[in-house]
Amino acid sequence: MLEDIATIFIASALINNFVFQRYLGLCIFFGVTKRMETAVGMSITFTSVMVISAALSWLIYKNVMIPLNLGFLKIVIFIGIVSGFVQAADTIMKKVTPGLYYKLGIYLALIVTNCIILAVPLINASEKYDLLQSLTLGLGSGAGFSLALIIMASIRERLELADVPKSFEGLPISFVLTGLIALAFLGFSGMIPL
């Protein structure tokens, strides 16, 4: 049981890292990694939204959609759940913790239609995970995404000073860099015998 949970966590954080192996969330990944501060804020927001939306969508999938045989509508329903939840979090944070809202609130708006958030419930549904496993997948993916953002932000702060060919400035060189990090992450794939 515990072993199973640990396997899911490590697999989702390192081996199937969302950015480097599954290529999800690239828009955000390249968008917010210009500065370390935004990268850290984004990681915190993303991880918490992922865990909560994993739990919410599991509850609805298990208790509403399966009994009613609505599995084929999962895309429509999950995106409704996620965007509804993010909208609610936005409003609640603004009222309850304005300080936190001004630090992290701007990222919430970016999250609503993001593939990486939607991917967690979809993977959970297709793997038929139970509640604990779903939460672990959410947490592991969040941790993996945070790791990727922080690595990339630290490199890009230095990249500003580098002398890059004009045509490769900005995104193209970041893609090549990401490729190199992905190569390093390939080394993790031997950690768990699948």
């Binding site: 480097f20 192996q21 599954r22 290529y23 999800l24 969330g25 690239l26 828009c27 390249f30 968008g31 084929f72 509508l73 999962k74 895309i75 429509v76 995106i79 409704g80 965007s83 970016l110 239609t113 993001n114 593939c115 958030i117 939607l118 991917a119 979809l122 993977i123 297709s126 060919p165 004009k166 045509s167 490769f168 400035e169 900005g170 995104l171 193209p172 060189i173 970041s174 893609f175 090549v176 990401t178 490729g179 190199l180 992905a182 190569l183 390939l186």
Partner: protein, 217 residues
Amino acid sequence: MNEKINYWKIFKNGLFSENPVFRLALSLCPAVAVTSGVKNGFLMGVAVLFVQTMSNITVSIIRNFIHPRVRIPSYIFIIATWVTVTDLLMAAYARDVYKDMGLYIQLIVAFAIILSRLESFASKKNVLPSGVDGLGMGVGFLLALVLIGFVRELLGKGALWGYQFTPSKPLLIMILPTGGFFVMGLLMGLFNWIDRRFFGGKTTAEVHMEGHKHGSH
């Protein structure tokens, strides 16, 4: 609308000057994820083409009935409906590729490019120009995916569309995740270079910034 609309110009816009992948740098996730071969890239491109065109047309037809304040959620549900249609069709008729690509097909719903075209084009124009715009963007996307898939499959497997024409595998790294990022970066650099050298255009970074100003993310 009486003014004459240049459909070819709208169509061409999506092909090169606002190519979703190389120029606007939107919806990059599938561009690297499914393009380990030409065939996967092509099918993904067709799926996006279909969803983009149909959502453009749908929004254009019912745009007068959507209250501006709820437009984004309505657009998302329209896209989600068409993605579900595509998803079920693919699951029924293309089972072998669906196993690898299923997740990415479902995630078309979160593509920035589709939503931003609905917001900036289809919500203001008539049905025909909207459909053409969707076609142009979709074909631009399709071509980009096929191009990346072509480079990766040729170099990684020595094959095209699954057909092996040389027994050697020159650069196996190209079909690994790493290769996807490399090819993407190099092609983007090449496009920038061509544009700067021959057309005096801007770099991807600058186009990207402008895209952010009048597109949603």
